[in-house]
C-alpha cells in the first residue's frame, strides 16, 4: 500500500502529463505483482470494488474521535476522505499494514456486510497517506488526474512498446494483468486477444499547416467533411457489440440506441453525432446536444428520444472476421460503401466524399462551411493502409479558420513546472450591457516565451488582489482570443463558454473598453 499511496499522493500534485508518466513508469518498475496490476486497474477505471459510502466512513471515524474536534477538523480540511485519513487515531503495531493486492482481493471476496470491519482494521494499520489512498480507492474515483489512456501509455512506456500495441490487447486482458507485465518485461509471450470484441487502435490525422497546402499533391487524396462529434469505433464480433472512444474507453453504456441498431459483424470507424429534425430530415445538432449524452452510465428514454445518436461512418477495419487494415484506402472505402448498401444499418450513414478539382476549390469549400456539425475537412491519402497511431502524411485534418474576439484579461494564475514563476494561465472576460466584465474563458497557450515574460510583468504591475496563486488584475489588457465555437455553460457567470480558446494576439494597443461585449458572443452561440 505504501508505494501505491506515495504514487497517488505525488500524482495529485503533478500537473504535467510527462511528469505523471514518469512517476507511473517508475512505479511499475519497482512495485511487485500483483500490486502494480491492481494499481493499473484502479488507474484505468477497470477496478470494480465493493465500495463504502461516505456515510459509513464517517460513522467509523465518529466512533473513534471527539465529535467537536472532528467537526472543526473537517471544516478546516474540507474533504471527508482526507479528514478521516488524517484524524484516524493511530494504533501503532495494531496489525500488519496490508499490501494493495491483499486489500483488493479481500474486498472482492468479502460480503457487503464485512466491508466496515475490514476497512477499520486496515485504517488502524496504515499511515495517513496510505489511509487516504485506501479511502479514495474504496469510496470510488481516484481523481488523481490520470486517464485510462495515460495509464496505458505509461505501462507501454514501461515495457518500451508503442501504446497502440497495449491498447489493441487491452480488452483481452484482465486485472491484475500478470501476463501483460510478464510480456512487457520480456518474461512471457505476448498475450492473445482471443474472441473478444476488442478495440483496435485508431488511425489519427495531423493538422494541415497553411505552409503545406500549396505543395500537397491533392490528386492523391480523398476529401471528407470533418464532423464535429466524437470519434468512435464500433465493434461487433461473436454476438458482442461495443462502442469505444478514440482512446479505447468503452462508452457503449451511454449509447444503447447505437448498440441496439447492430445486426452485423464488423469493426467500423466513424463520428458519433446527435441528430435533430431539419428541413431535409435529420441534421447534425450542435455539439452541446452530444455532450448531454456523454459521460453517463445510463440514459433515460426521454434523452434517447430528444437527442438520438447517430454514427457517420468513414472507415471499415474488419468485415466479419476479415482484417481490412492493410488494404489501401480506396478499396477499403469501396468495401465500406458496399457494406452500407448491403446492410443498410439503422442509425448509421456514410460520410460522403467531397468532390474537388484543386486545392483552391477545396479551400473555398472549407471557408464556406459554417453550418453545425462541420469543423473543416479531412484529407486522406488514397493509398494509405489503416495504421495505428498518428503517422505524419497519410491523413490530414484541415480545420476551418477559428472565430476571434477581443477579450479583457481579468485573472492570471501561476503556471507549473517551467512556468511556475510565471503568471501564465489567463481568465478573460467580455463586457455586459451594464459595463461589467464577466469571465467567458481561460487560456494558457498561444503566446511566445518573450510575450509570456511581458504578460507576466504586466500582471505583476497591475495586480489588484491576490488569492493564493491567482491574481486579479485591472481591466486594462486586451487579448485577441481564437476559439472554435461558443456554447452555453454554467461554468461562467456569463452563461457562455468558448470552445478550444487560445490567445491569438496580445492587443497591447487596444483600450479595454473597446473589447467585445457579451451580446456579440450570444450571437455566435451554436444552435
Amino acid at each position: 500500500m505504501k508505494a501505491f499511496a506515495a504514487l497517488l499522493d505525488r500524482l495529485v500534485y503533478t500537473p504535467q502529463r510527462n511528469g505523471k508518466l514518469r512517476l507511473l513508469v517508475d512505479y511499475f518498475r519497482h512495485a511487485p505483482d500483483p500490486d502494480r496490476g491492481w494499481a493499473l486497474a484502479a488507474l484505468s477505471d477497470g477496478l470494480d470494488l465493493k465500495g463504502a459510502k461516505p456515510a459509513l466512513v464517517r460513522a467509523l471515524v465518529e466512533e473513534r474521535t471527539d465529535p467537536v474536534l472532528f467537526r472543526w477538523s473537517y471544516d478546516y480540511v474540507g474533504d471527508l476522505a482526507e479528514t478521516v485519513a488524517l484524524i484516524w487515531p493511530e494504533r501503532p503495531g495494531a496489525n500488519r499494514p496490508p499490501a494493495l493486492g491483499e486489500v483488493v482481493e479481500a474486498l472482492r471476496a468479502a460480503g457487503r456486510g464485512e466491508v466496515p470491519a475490514l476497512l477499520a482494521r486496515w485504517l488502524d494499520a496504515l499511515d495517513p497517506t496510505e489511509r487516504w489512498a485506501l479511502l479514495k480507492l474504496i469510496t470510488g474515483g481516484l481523481r488523481v488526474g490520470v486517464s485510462a489512456r495515460l495509464a496505458k501509455t505509461a505501462v507501454a512506456a514501461f515495457g518500451d512498446r508503442p501504446v497502440e500495441e497495449v491498447e489493441e490487447l487491452w480488452h483481452g486482458l484482465a486485472p491484475p494483468y500478470g501476463a501483460l507485465f510478464a510480456w512487457l518485461e520480456g518474461r512471457g509471450a505476448k498475450p492473445e486477444l482471443g474472441e473478444a470484441a476488442a478495440f483496435r487502435p485508431l488511425m489519427l490525422a495531423t493538422p494541415l499547416e497553411e505552409s503545406e497546402v500549396e505543395a500537397l499533391p491533392f490528386e492523391e487524396y480523398l476529401a471528407e467533411w470533418k464532423w464535429d462529434g466524437i470519434r468512435v469505433q464500433l465493434v461487433a464480433r461473436g454476438g458482442e457489440t461495443r462502442l469505444f472512444s478514440r482512446t479505447g474507453d468503452d462508452i457503449g453504456g451511454a449509447f444503447p440506441d447505437i448498440l441496439e441498431a447492430v445486426d452485423f459483424e464488423a469493426t467500423l470507424d466513424g463520428e458519433l453525432l446527435v441528430l435533430r429534425d431539419g428541413p431535409e430530415g435529420g441534421e447534425v445538432a450542435p455539439f452541446n446536444d452530444l455532450q448531454q449524452r456523454l459521460n453517463r452510465k445510463t440514459v433515460t428514454a426521454k434523452l434517447l428520444q430528444r437527442h438520438p445518436a447517430h454514427l457517420r461512418l468513414y472507415d471499415i477495419l474488419f468485415e466479419g472476421r476479415e482484417d481490412l487494415r492493410s488494404l489501401p484506402l480506396l478499396p477499403r472505402r469501396a468495401r465500406l460503401e458496399a457494406f452500407v448498401a448491403r446492410e443498410k444499418p439503422r442509425r448509421m450513414d456514410l460520410s460522403p466524399l467531397v468532390d474537388f478539382a484543386s486545392m483552391s476549390e477545396l479551400e473555398a469549400l472549407r471557408a464556406a462551411a459554417r453550418e453545425n456539425g462541420i469543423e473543416g475537412l479531412m484529407l486522406k491519402r488514397k493509398d494509405s493502409p489503416y495504421l495505428a497511431g498518428r503517422p505524419k502524411g497519410p491523413w490530414y485534418k484541415w480545420k476551418r479558420d477559428p472565430l476571434v474576439l477581443d477579450c479583457v484579461l481579468m485573472y492570471a494564475q501561476r503556471g507549473h513546472g517551467k512556468r511556475s514563476s510565471f503568471y501564465s494561465d489567463y481568465t478573460f472576460g467580455a463586457w455586459t450591457p451594464e459595463d461589467e466584465l464577466v469571465p467567458v474563458g481561460k487560456a494558457y497557450f498561444g503566446f511566445t516565451d518573450e510575450e509570456l515574460k511581458r504578460l507576466d510583468k504586466w500582471v505583476r504591475d497591475h495586480t489588484t488582489e491576490r488569492f493564493g496563486p491567482v491574481r486579479a488584475v485591472e481591466p486594462g489588457l486586451v487579448l485577441e482570443v481564437a476559439f472554435d465555437a461558443v456554447q452555453r455553460s454554467t461554468r461562467h457567470k456569463s452563461g457562455l463558454a468558448l470552445r478550444f480558446p487560445r490567445v491569438s494576439r496580445i492587443r497591447w494597443d487596444k483600450p479595454a473598453h473597446e473589447a467585445d461585449r457579451v451580446e456579440t458572443l450570444e450571437a455566435l452561440v451554436e444552435g
Partner: protein, 345 residues
C-alpha cells in the same frame, strides 16, 4: 504558604505576556524595557528592546538579524542556569524548536510557570531536545492544534525528495524552507540520508547557515544558488525561502520541481494553494500528538494557550481535566518571511 494564583502575577498586555513581580515581558511584540526572548524567530524576537535575556545562540541570531537594534543590553543565559529578575527566578530549558530555542521557567513564591515559546518533541539534529519541566501552569503554542496535524517521520519526507531527484534527474528541485531552523535542519537531514551531492542555498539563507556552523552545527559544504548558470542547475538541489519560489529568481532554475518543507503541507488544499508540486511535511512545531502528550507529561493542572488553533487544544485539555484557557496573544505565529500569508513552520 499558599502559592499565589498565576493570574495574580502574569498578565497579557498589548505588548505581550507581562511578569509583574519581575517587571519584564516574555517575547514582547513591541519594544520594552526588559524582555526575555524564547527564540530567534521574528514573531518572538523583535528588535528595539532595551535589555534582552536569552540563550547565547538566540542573542547571536538576533544580532545577525538586527545588528545594533538587537537590544542595548544583551544578557546571555545558558540552559539550566538560574537568574533572578526582581522577585522572579528565571531559568531557560531547551524547547527543541530551533537552535537556541528555550522555554522560560518562571518561579515566584513557589508557583512555577513554564512559557514554552514554540517547541517540538521529535529529534532535530540542529538543536537540543525539549526538556519536560513539571510546573503549575504550562503556557503552550497550538500552531498545529487540530488532530489532523500528525507530522510523519522526517526521514520519510527526505526520502520523498531523494526519490523525486531520482525520477526527475534533469529538473532542479527547489525546496522552500524558512531561513532560521528549517533550512539548517533540512540540510542536516539530507546529509544523514546520505545525500553527498551539492546543496545550493539562496542568498537569503546564507548568513544564518554560516552562523549555525559558527555555533557548532556542521552543515557541510553549501554552494550559492545565485551564481550558477541555468544548465548547471539541471538536477540540482536548491534551498530557498518560500517567498523566492514564486519570484523571478526561480526562473534561473531548470524546469523546477517546487517543494516546500512545512507542517502545513499535511493538508492538500494548503499545499495546492501555494502551487507546491512536492510537499514535504517537516515542521519545527509540535503536531497534535506532541502537543497533547506534552500536556500529559508536564502535568500542570492549568494550561494557557498562546497562539495557533487555541480553541481545539483548549477543548481537548478541558476534556482531559485540565483548567485551560486561550490567551490570544497578538502578534505571535507570524514567523518569518510571510508566514502569515499561508503558514510556514
Amino acid at each position: 504558604m499558599n502559592k499565589p494564583r498565576p493570574e495574580s502575577w502574569l498578565r497579557v498586555e498589548p505588548r505581550g505576556l507581562y511578569v509583574v513581580p519581575g517587571d519584564f515581558y516574555v517575547d514582547p511584540v513591541r519594544p520594552v524595557e526588559r524582555a526575555v526572548v524564547t527564540h530567534g524567530h521574528a514573531d518572538h524576537a523583535r528588535p528595539g528592546h532595551a535589555k534582552v535575556l536569552a540563550t547565547p545562540e538566540t542573542l547571536a541570531i538576533m544580532q545577525a538579524r538586527y545588528g545594533d537594534r538587537a537590544g542595548s543590553g544583551l544578557q546571555a543565559l545558558g540552559y539550566g542556569e538560574p537568574v533572578t529578575i526582581g522577585e522572579v527566578t528565571v531559568r531557560l530549558a531547551p524547547a527543541g524548536h530551533v537552535l537556541g530555542s528555550a522555554q522560560a521557567v518562571l518561579e515566584w513564591r513557589g508557583c512555577r510557570v513554564v512559557v514554552s515559546g514554540d517547541y517540538k518533541r521529535r529529534r532535530d539534529p540542529t538543536c537540543a531536545p525539549f526538556e519536560v519541566v513539571p510546573c503549575d501552569v504550562f503556557v503552550t503554542e497550538a500552531t498545529f492544534g487540530l488532530p489532523v496535524f500528525r507530522h510523519p517521520d522526517d526521514r520519510g519526507e527526505i526520502a520523498k525528495l531523494l526519490h523525486s531527484l531520482a525520477v526527475f534527474p534533469e529538473r532542479t528541485h527547489v525546496v522552500g524552507v524558512y531561513s532560521l531552523g528549517k533550512a539548517q535542519r533540512v540540510v542536516r537531514l539530507l546529509r544523514e540520508a546520505g545525500w553527498d551531492g551539492p546543496i545550493h542555498v539562496h542568498g537569503a539563507l546564507q548568513a544564518l547557515c554560516a552562523l549555525y556552523e559558527e555555533l557548532g552545527v556542521p552543515l557541510g559544504p553549501l554552494s550559492p544558488a545565485t551564481v550558477a548558470a541555468k544548465a548547471e542547475m539541471a538536477g540540482a538541489l536548491v534551498l530557498a525561502p518560500p517567498s523566492a519560489l514564486a519570484d523571478r529568481w526561480a526562473r534561473r532554475l531548470a524546469d523546477p520541481v517546487t517543494a516546500m518543507a512545512s507542517g502545513w503541507m499535511r493538508v492538500r488544499q494548503r499545499a495546492r494553494q501555494r502551487g507546491v508540486e512536492l510537499p514535504l511535511i517537516i515542521s519545527d512545531h509540535a503536531d497534535w500528538d506532541e502537543l497533547t502528550r506534552t500536556l500529559d507529561e508536564v502535568g500542570a493542572p492549568e494550561v494557557w494557550v498562546t497562539h495557533g488553533n487555541e480553541e481545539a487544544l483548549v477543548h481537548h485539555a478541558r476534556q482531559r481535566g485540565f483548567r485551560a484557557r486561550a490567551l490570544s496573544v497578538v502578534g505571535l505565529g507570524e514567523e518569518d518571511e510571510g508566514e502569515a500569508l499561508g503558514g510556514a513552520s
